[in-house]
């Protein structure tokens, strides 16, 4: 089966891409290189420009500035239907007036490939739907439609396959299953996949490389583990999983760690895991790396200790229990503890100390004095505050 | 959604389509737009000009010269104001009657029959069925049913409801009756479309919040179906005011029930008195445009089609 797909994928290069819409700029000077044959994820919140990037690559939009190169060839001015790129759409976009076999054969027929029907059947067999070849899309379930959309794109052996949040409409179990299948097909067929999603778990599971996108720019790019364990910006630290972040001045930068003063406590971060070594810095640690203890732990090398704090919330979530610990001067810290025993390790209101290995900490590139706060500002508190301020201003004016 | 009420009960637009700028648009629009300009706008302008014409030099019938005889309008209104008032009067009454008749029917089909799509479709077919028989023959059928020798008059006279020698046909009542009947589908379908989309959970919420069925209807159902009611009212009133079949002596009317339409027809086709016919048409059009612009001001032009 894999032998019938002989070609491998091609490189994708975006050089200085800018896309402006009337009223706002979606993407500003984006540079991106995706190596051939990899499974690449473009991850970001809605409105960050990832779908626009995808549409630019597919040719469904034209960039305001910049160039797009596929396999070294400049395709910036090439029309959609001439680019060796295929898309799996978010809504699948299966042609309702054709059978799924005709859907899958559509691209082949337009390219006048011989034996289009034969190849279409093979593609359907790849996604295990050949027995339903004569059915219409409306007669299939969501998961089946998604597989047909995939087959329809893959059968054309494009240099680059674009996936626009294709698993969004599926329920959890089906999504997990499809994630594994997609990864497998990509490996079997050897194409370059570009997967656009807002689901960080999905990106981490499936991709070889992730680029985190925010407001039209790529904040960080790398392997999933790299992005997760060593985020470089606050956005990445908060978008991928959760982080506990602190701000403070660097008091010493000798040796292979930097020491930061956090509300009186001295916290160490390895030098090669910190982006900035002087001035005000933001450092952080992942919640699952923290350990709770009810007794003040003894100082030891290679371990940061913070506390005492009070447990203000305990949430059971199956695999782990989430604790919120209020530490004076530091704010509220989040701890994930794997449920190795029945019941919470500490109770609500208990006094606890938090420890973590120095090696697990990271330092961000953001300059705290220059930037916005760390919390995302879409939450309702923010909106309510603004509203109240506006009303108060109105009342004052009246 | 005014006139589109007829064509679609499906919610429109899966997602708001991004509109492209392209020269193709011109190519698609121009033929139709030119055709309409040539055969609608130009004639309309022609009509306006004709309404100002004066009788020709030699006074021949049908010969007119361009002029600016504003007096035409004055004379027309003076002579024909009873017809004008009658037309809008009849149309208004017919519209109200059609509304009273159609609303419960539309409610029944759109709300009560929701669980039975096949019956719903059958019911709608019955509502539209009158359209499938020629407009003229329908009206003629009523004329004969309501005529002095017909069953209705005989029965009513037997019950002494109707005095001896009285007619039903050739009275304003018959004309209004005819108008109402012929425009029921125009009134019923838009209201049906509105009610069909009514989310019944609003009605349940009304009951949950202590409103009696009557109050719920007045304060929840009726306001929510208002767009359909307004569409239906426009779709009924406008053609009804210009109608002349029902009022024609050959059908349900008599010379003293003549409406604007009858006068226009007579002046144009028989008397060849084009300025009179034209000015009356413009007056009719002007009044209707007042209603339509009130609607547009309320709902904007995007939704018109």
């Amino acid at each position: 089966m894999a032998t019938s797909f002989a070609e491998a994928g091609a490189d994708l290069e975006l050089v200085g891409i800018t896309k402006r819409f009337p009223g706002f700029t979606a993407i500003e000077h984006l540079d991106l290189t995706i190596p051939a044959g990899s499974f690449f994820a473009l991850l970001g919140p809605s409105g960050c420009g990832k779908t626009t990037t995808l549409r630019l690559i597919a040719g469904l939009e034209d960039p305001t500035e910049g160039r797009i190169l596929i396999g070294g060839k400049d395709v910036t001015t090439t029309k959609t239907f001439r680019r060796p790129v295929n898309t799996v759409f978010q809504s699948y976009a299966l042609f309702p007036h054709m059978s799924i076999l005709e859907n899958v054969a559509f691209g082949l027929k337009r390219r006048r490939i011989a034996d289009a029907q034969q190849l279409a059947h093979e593609a359907l067999r790849l996604v295990e739907l050949d027995h339903l070849a004569q059915r219409r899309p409306s007669q299939l379930s969501g998961g089946q439609q998604q597989r047909v959309a995939l087959a329809r794109a893959v059968v054309n052996r494009p240099a680059l396959l674009l996936l626009d949040e294709p698993l969004g409409a599926l329920d959890l179990k089906l999504r997990r299953q499809m994630q594994i299948e997609l990864k497998q097909i990509q490996g079997d067929v050897g194409l370059t996949f570009l997967h656009v999603t807002h689901d960080q778990e999905e990106a981490m599971t499936m991709a070889d490389t992730i680029a985190v996108m925010n407001k039209g720019e790529i904040e960080q790019m790398g392997a999933p583990e790299e992005l997760y364990e060593l985020p470089k910006t606050a956005f990445v630290a908060n978008f991928l999983g959760q982080s506990n972040l602190f701000t403070g001045p660097v008091v010493s930068a000798k040796g292979d760690t930097i020491v930061v003063d956090i509300a009186g406590r001295k916290v160490a971060v390895p030098r090669d895991r910190a982006q900035r070594h002087a001035g005000e810095v933001t450092i952080g640690v992942r919640p699952e790396k923290l350990a709770l203890s009810t007794a003040e732990p003894k100082e030891s090398a290679g371990v940061n200790i913070v506390g005492p704090g009070r447990v203000v919330d305990v949430s059971f979530s199956g695999v782990s229990t989430q604790y919120q610990v209020q530490v004076p001067g530091l704010g509220t810290m989040t701890v994930f503890a794997q449920n190795m025993a029945f019941g919470p390790v500490v109770n609500l209101g208990a006094e606890v100390w938090l420890t973590w290995t120095v090696d697990h900490g990271f330092g961000l590139a953001d300059d705290p004095s220059a930037g916005p706060r760390f919390e995302p500002d879409e939450d309702t508190t923010q909106i309510a505050t603004q509203r109240r301020e506006r009303l108060e201003a109105e009342l004052e004016g009246a | 959604m005014a006139f589109g009420a007829f064509s679609s009960a499906t919610p429109v637009a899966a997602e708001p389509a991004v509109r492209r700028r392209s020269p193709i648009a011109l190519f698609l629009l121009l033929p139709g737009a030119l055709y309409l300009s040539l055969f609608f706008l130009v004639p309309f302008v022609s009509l306006v000009l004709t309404s100002f014409k004066a009788p020709g030099e030699f006074g021949d019938i049908g010969e007119y010269d361009y002029a600016f005889k504003w007096e035409n309008y004055v004379a027309v209104v003076q002579t024909y104001w009873p017809h004008i008032a009658r037309s809008f009067g009849y149309a208004a009454v017919a519209t109200v009657l059609a509304l009273l008749f159609s609303y419960p029917l539309a409610y029944f089909i759109g709300v009560k029959l929701r669980r039975f799509p096949l019956w719903q479709a059958l019911a709608l077919t019955l509502v539209i069925a009158p359209f499938f028989i020629s407009f003229l023959l329908r009206t003629l059928a009523w004329k004969q049913i309501l005529s002095d020798e017909g069953p209705v008059v005989t029965v009513l006279q037997a019950l002494t409801v109707l005095p001896e020698g009285a007619h039903i046909t050739q009275t304003p009542a018959a004309v209004i009756f005819g108008l109402t009947y012929n425009f029921i589908p125009f009134m019923c379908l838009p209201i049906y479309t509105s009610l069909e989309r009514l989310d019944l959970r609003y009605v349940e919420a009304g009951g949950d919040l202590y409103a009696s069925p009557a109050t719920t209807f007045m304060r929840v159902t009726l306001p929510l179906s208002m767009p359909g009611v307004i569409s239906g009212t426009l779709l009924t009133f406008i053609p009804a005011s210009g109608d002349y079949i029902n009022a024609s002596s050959a059908f349900l009317g008599a010379p003293d029930t003549a409406m604007i339409g009858n006068v226009i027809e007579a002046n144009f086709l028989q008397l060849q008195n084009y300025p009179v016919a034209a000015s009356l048409s413009i007056i009719l059009m002007a009044v209707i445009l007042i209603f339509v612009s009130a609607y547009i001001k309320r709902s904007g032009t995007e939704d018109l089609l």
Binding site: L60, H97 | F40, I245
Partner: protein, 288 residues
């Protein structure tokens, strides 16, 4: 008239949500149902009357019932004027439908899919013919033909009918175009279809039900039109015009026959459309 369109479209309506507690209007459980039945009977009276009287055994004036006969149905064209008028109506309706559907579909696609200046003007231009009373439309066009020195006949009827049908075609097709997922056409482009191929293989087949509904609507409107025809036909006679002019001296039963035949064809067509839609819906539900 609007029958085909309205019914065909409402058949594709959102599947009805079952009402959990039927809302009572306070007239008891059956009040509304009884009213509806009476209303339907009322609506059908003239139709039944017309059909019944098509079997009347009369030569001319079809006013009083004389006896049952199938003669009228068998010898439809005994009165040649009736058949001639009918033939003219069909001719006019077919040509006007073709023209109006072509012009209107193009405009509908442009309105939904493209940005252009003068959008408001175009919308008004399409809307006004629907809002103008037929008397005004007819008189205006007739005045124009007069001024231009064009003699009235079948051609002028066709021109007039095309004019007022375009707006209705636009309304019907526009709804269909708007409900077309643009992603489908994007998928076509993505799958190597040129713009022409995208239109003919994807857009057009998906628009076809709407276009057909618009054509049926246009045909019905044209066939049944009297007022505008009356002003613009000169000596030519269409079926409604024949009925009108014959009304005073007596309409032959054959006219009833034709009207009844048209009615039956239309009703059967609608019923078939409904039933096949219902069957298709059931098949889809089962196969999913």
């Amino acid at each position: 008239m609007q029958a085909g369109a309205a019914v065909a479209e409402t058949a594709k309506a959102v599947p009805p949500k079952p009402a959990r507690r039927p809302f009572r209007l306070g007239v008891g459980k059956w009040g509304l149902g009884v009213y509806a039945i009476l209303a339907f009977v009322f609506l059908l009276i003239p139709i039944v009357y017309t059909i019944v009287f098509s079997f009347n055994d009369v030569r001319r004036s079809n006013i009083v019932w004389r006896g049952f006969t199938l003669d009228n149905w068998i010898n439809i064209c005994q009165q040649p004027e009736v058949c001639e008028a009918f033939g003219n109506s069909i001719l006019v309706a077919v040509v006007a439908t073709l023209l109006a559907t072509a012009l209107g579909t193009a405009m509908a696609i442009a309105l939904v899919r493209y940005r252009f200046r003068f959008r408001t003007a175009t919308t008004l231009l399409l809307f006004l013919p629907m809002a103008t009373p037929e008397v005004v439309l007819g008189a205006g066009l007739a005045a124009q033909f007069l001024t231009a020195g064009v003699s009235k006949g079948i051609v002028t009827i066709i021109l007039a009918h095309t004019m007022f049908c375009i707006s209705f075609v636009v309304v019907t097709v526009r709804a269909r175009v708007a409900s077309l997922d643009p992603a489908l056409e994007e998928a076509g482009r993505d799958l190597y279809a040129s713009p022409a191929q995208v239109f003919w293989r994807i857009t057009f087949p998906l628009l076809l039900p709407g276009i057909i509904a618009a054509a049926l609507l246009s045909f019905a409107l044209s066939f049944d039109d009297f007022i505008i025809t009356n002003f613009n036909s000169g000596a030519a006679v269409t079926f409604p015009k024949y009925v009108y002019t014959a009304a005073t001296r007596g309409i032959p039963a054959q006219a009833n026959v034709i009207a009844s035949a048209v009615f039956l064809v239309a009703i059967i067509g609608v019923v078939i459309a409904q039933v096949s839609a219902g069957i298709r819906r059931k098949r889809l539900a089962k196969a999913g």
